[in-house]
């Protein structure tokens, strides 16, 4: 297994579950941005392609003490990926500064081993060729290639926007990096210069996107030492780049499996600076 690579930049999210109402705007924005095909009957959720899924969490208490929380689940962009390590053809890897786990459609052979490996169910398979109602393909963006049947796909943190943001800086004559503390480099992209489509769309501002390694970014402050932050399945050691925030303990406890007498864990800090 490859070692958890430390990058100068680590794109990540802090998703505020105190703010999410589960309205679905992020899901629609994600599909539109990444050229996912619509389906007339989407009730078989095990066959529906959604890079971002909003789960419904309940405190399981009877009325009127019932509480409800919505949890949007993009690809967790693990530092220690269950998926990329098992891919037989290197169609997915985490090898680029920014720490985004790639998915290369023309390389994927569709063996679905990565899907079996991912405990977050963040990976989706093209069971059939995608079909758009006649004419609707005109609304596809040029940023993301359209996937044929037989390949696996997943959230890319809108990687194409990262590329575009870097190009904007280059054409403006700048460098894509700026020096940071302790000999680190930070991306020169301004904090709002690269955001994912879901984070951008959310009218409640529930999804905060940025560089987990950059102290100037909001996600950095929200994720370090925040007792209200947690990650999904922390104890599996996947070292995800998606943090969740909730002021409610029952929500944080649902972020991982706990034996009855175990206490809810505080989040581990993200990777220390190894330089």
């Amino acid at each position: 297994m490859s070692a958890n690579k430390d990058f100068n930049v680590r794109w990540g999210m802090a998703i505020d579950l105190d703010k999410c109402t589960g309205c679905g705007a992020c899901m629609v924005a994600c599909q539109a941005e990444n050229n996912l095909a619509p389906v007339a009957d989407a009730s078989n959720k095990l066959r529906v392609m959604n890079w971002l899924v909003v789960f419904e969490l309940s405190n399981k208490k009877p009325f009127p003490d019932h509480e409800l929380v919505y949890l949007p689940r993009p690809c967790q962009q693990c530092g220690e990926q269950p998926c990329a390590t098992v891919c037989p053809v290197i169609a997915t890897e985490r090898n680029e500064d920014g720490g985004i786990v790639s998915q290369i459609y023309p390389r994927c052979i569709g063996c679905r081993y990565c899907m079996a490996a991912c405990p977050y169910h963040a990976r989706y398979f093209n069971w059939f060729d995608p079909i758009w109602p006649k004419g609707m393909e005109k609304a596809l963006t040029p940023d993301v290639s359209v996937r044929p049947r037989g390949v696996v796909e997943k959230c890319s943190f809108c990687h194409h926007r990262y590329m575009a943001a870097k190009d904007k800086i280059r054409v403006g004559g700048g460098s894509v990096y700026v020096p940071g503390e302790k000999g680190r480099k930070h991306s020169a992209i301004p904090e709002d210069g690269y955001v994912t489509s879901c984070a951008e769309a959310c009218p409640n501002g529930a999804i905060v996107f940025g560089d987990l390694n950059n102290p100037a970014h909001k996600v950095y402050r929200l994720t370090r030492g925040n007792a209200h932050a947690f990650r999904l399945l922390e104890r599996l050691g996947t070292d995800t780049a998606v943090y969740y925030l909730s002021s409610r303990e029952w929500v944080r406890r649902l972020g991982d499996n706990y034996l009855q007498d175990e206490e809810t864990q505080k989040p581990k800090r993200i990777l220390p600076n190894k330089h």
Binding site: D16, D18, K19, C20, T21, G22, C23, G24, A25, M27, V28, A29, Q31, A32, P38, V39, A40, D41, A42, S43, N50, V54, E56, K61, P62, F63, P64, H66, L68, V69, Y70, D129, P130, W132, P133, K134, G135, M136, K138, A139, L140, T141, P142, D143, S145, V146, R147, P148, A201, C202, P203, N204, G205, R221, L222, N226, A227, H228, L245, S247
Partner: protein
């Protein structure tokens, strides 16, 4: 040499060996796999230059301000417009708008119902001819329904109607209409606005402010800006409380959510008023004395009895309101319609008691915008016409018009089942629909005139209900229409010309320009660029305004139906509107617990489910007023006791595969009764019987 079998085999063997030493097999192996990258039947990326155009969505009822991203001349994305007072994020509906431009449900060309009952394609000139002929023929016996309360199109329709000698111009029922009626009765000559931007504590009673009440996207943006993220240290200050029967998208964020029976907004608001008055609060209304007397009868205990609210919870919310610097109480319908004027009046009274009328963070009294076209009714005047009552008349026979023109509205789907809209339609000999989509109403019309969607036409938005300030926005078309469509306004202007009717403006653009430059006093070009014109002008609180205690009392007296369960409809924007149906890109946002194949789920809490003798997953039939609704049951603990929660937006029979065959339309179940003393028809309280199917 004769090639024998052995030789042939050798030859083949040689060829096989030889071919391996050429590029052929290897190149083919490689190229075949490269071919799989770009199969011709998979849509390819079409590159182009990026442009961004700022518009206000005419499709999303929240009037969300958005930016449309175009590649070349193709709109590909709807992005938020954070700098616009109506923007900040996108709704699930607005996000799907560019794809709806290519929706299979769109009307592609003018359709005329032929003698055989089937639609046939006709040309626009033929359509214009028929339309003008029918207008001339019907004259004053024409009626109009307009589904756009914020756009100037309502004014065009009204001017045309006036010209023809008809007063029958109705808007579709909305919260704005209820508020307008309330203002009228309270003798407030303006539009009630809500200055959410500056409020530090909001208590929404019924009003689902994050999904269906007012300027939803703006409301959400304000909430976003005002609420910090949890940081593990600071105790977060509660800023928002919600009272309603369902743990909906607003209730999820509320601290606390106060569960109440459906349709209990007025009583609950009076309960709040009671505590405030008991604490010494007064208002300077003319009839405050009578109001006080009424409110004092609504003690927390009594209110708890009527509404089912937890009195302690209510008290804590009122205390929070009192502790807040700029508290705001918003009272509205739980599903965006049909609650009548009384809840708004009660809400106004509570705000008056809190002393926040025309104060920052309180209720703003905004001037009504006046009509620009001579002869046209103003918006406030149009609100006064109650469609439901009129449709009832038409169905009864006598007064049915000979021509009905429906503009971007779907009354056959969106009106309560108790209102005999279908019968009314039968009684009207000729019906015309201006619609982008072939919805239930368009299907029932004789002439269907396809109109461009909001993104394809020039249109405007006048202060949407809920906004805390006057705002005027103009949207320029961002895309060429993808079908053979004509803007309704242009079509109406030319029809008027044909009939020699004076409209007071040469074209729709002319009208918008006059409004911009004459009324709003803003540069039209700047408006076209997508900047809304905001005015902070307010009207004074009128000296002699009334809290209408008599009206409130009559409404409170109205007995609720004698059925075992109460019906709580609710709205989710991702299911689209009555006009759009479920947008193609939104079917995936429907949860497995909401829809499974054709079955939609209605929700009851476990105790209620047990009381009804039902179990999770049961096929059930809801029945009210002799009308039945099939569904399946989901046990969900976020529903008030004895209440069945049902989501609107399902059960379309028209439109396309993305909307059809999905659940049933809960509007069918709703009864409609006249609201005492207001003249509005209301359908917010409905009893329902639930039985195993």
């Amino acid at each position: 040499m004769v090639l024998d079998r052995r030789g042939f085999v050798k030859c083949i063997a040689g060829a096989s060996a030889g071919i391996m030493a050429t590029p052929l097999p290897w190149k083919l192996l490689d190229d075949v796999s490269i071919w799989t990258q770009s199969w011709p039947w998979i849509p390819a990326n079409v590159r182009g230059e990026n442009f961004v155009v700022r518009v206000v969505s005419k499709t999303c009822p929240s009037s969300a301000a958005v930016k449309v991203r175009l590649v070349g001349n193709r709109p590909v994305r709807v992005l938020p417009d954070d700098d616009h007072p109506l923007g900040g994020g996108v709704s699930a509906l607005a996000a799907a708008e560019v794809h709806m431009l290519h929706s299979p449900a769109r009307v592609k060309r003018p359709l005329l119902r032929g003698p055989d009952g089937a639609f046939m394609d006709i040309s626009w000139s033929k359509a214009a001819e028929i339309f003008a002929g029918k207008l001339k023929e019907a004259g004053g016996k024409s009626a109009f329904i307009c589904g756009d309360e914020t756009g100037s199109i309502a004014e065009v329709i009204s001017a045309l109607a006036k010209g023809l000698g008809s007063e029958d111009v109705c808007l579709m029922p909305s919260e704005g209409q209820c508020a307008a009626k309330a203002a009228e009765l309270m003798r407030i000559p303006g539009q009630i606005g809500y200055d959410l931007e500056h409020s530090d504590y909001v208590f929404a009673i019924g009003a689902n402010i994050f999904e269906s009440w007012g300027t939803v996207v703006r409301n959400r943006r304000i909430f976003r800006a005002a609420t910090p993220h949890p940081d593990g240290k600071t105790r977060l200050k509660a800023r928002f409380a919600y009272a309603g029967p369902v743990q909906n998208n607003s209730a999820v964020l509320a601290r606390p959510w106060l569960p109440v029976y459906p349709g209990m907004q007025t009583a609950l608001a009076l309960g709040v008023a009671n505590i405030l008055i008991a604490g010494g609060r007064t208002a300077d209304a003319l009839d405050f004395g009578a109001f006080k007397e009424l409110a004092l009868r609504y003690t927390p205990k009594k209110v708890a009895q009527i509404t089912g609210v937890d009195p302690k919870g209510l008290e804590s919310v009122v205390n929070a309101l009192l502790a807040a610097e700029a508290p705001l109480v918003i009272v509205g319908s739980e599903f965006g319609q049909g609650a009548g004027a009384a809840p708004v009046m009660a809400g106004f009274a509570v705000n008056a008691l809190l002393g926040n009328i025309n104060r920052p963070g309180g209720i703003s009294l905004l001037p009504w915008d006046e009509a620009v076209l001579g002869g046209a009714s103003s918006r406030s005047r149009l609100y006064a016409n109650d469609l439901a009552a009129r449709v009832g008349d038409w169905a009864a026979g006598g007064n049915a018009p000979s021509l009905l023109v429906v503009h971007e509205a779907n009354p056959l789907y969106a009106l309560p089942g108790a209102i005999p809209a279908k019968q009314a339609f039968k009684n009207i000999p000729f019906k015309v629909a201006f619609s982008s989509f072939l919805d239930e109403t368009a299907e029932a019309c004789n002439l269907v005139l396809p109109v461009p969607m909001g993104l394809e036409r020039l249109d405007d938005v006048r202060t949407p209900y809920g906004s805390g300030q006057s705002i005027y926005c103009v949207s320029a078309p961002v895309a060429q229409p993808s079908e053979d469509v004509r803007p309704a306004a242009d079509f109406l202007f030319s029809a008027a010309k044909e009939l020699d009717l004076k409209m007071g403006a040469a074209s729709y653009e002319d009208l918008l320009k006059s409004r911009a430059e004459g009324v709003v006093k803003t540069d039209f070009a700047a408006l076209l660029a997508g900047t809304g014109a905001v005015s902070h002008e307010k009207i004074k609180v009128p000296e002699g305004y009334s809290l209408c205690p008599a009206v409130l009392e009559k409404n409170l007296m109205q007995a609720s139906a004698e059925t075992s369960f109460r019906l709580a409809p609710f709205v989710k924007l991702n299911l689209g509107t009555a006009n759009t149906g479920i947008p193609p890109y939104n079917t995936k946002t429907l949860r497995a617990s909401e829809l499974e194949g054709k079955d939609m789920f209605v929700m009851m809490n476990a105790a209620t489910t047990a009381k009804a003798g039902l179990a999770e997953g049961d096929a059930v039939t809801l029945e009210a007023g002799g009308r039945r609704l099939p569904a399946r049951l989901r046990v969900f603990e976020g529903v008030m006791s004895d209440t069945v929660a049902v989501c609107l937006g399902y059960g379309h029979t028209a439109l396309d595969a993305f909307s059809q065959n999905k659940g049933a339309n809960v509007m069918e179940l709703l009864s409609a009764v006249p609201e005492p003393a207001t003249g509005l028809t209301v359908w917010s309280q409905a009893g329902v019987a639930v039985a195993k199917a």
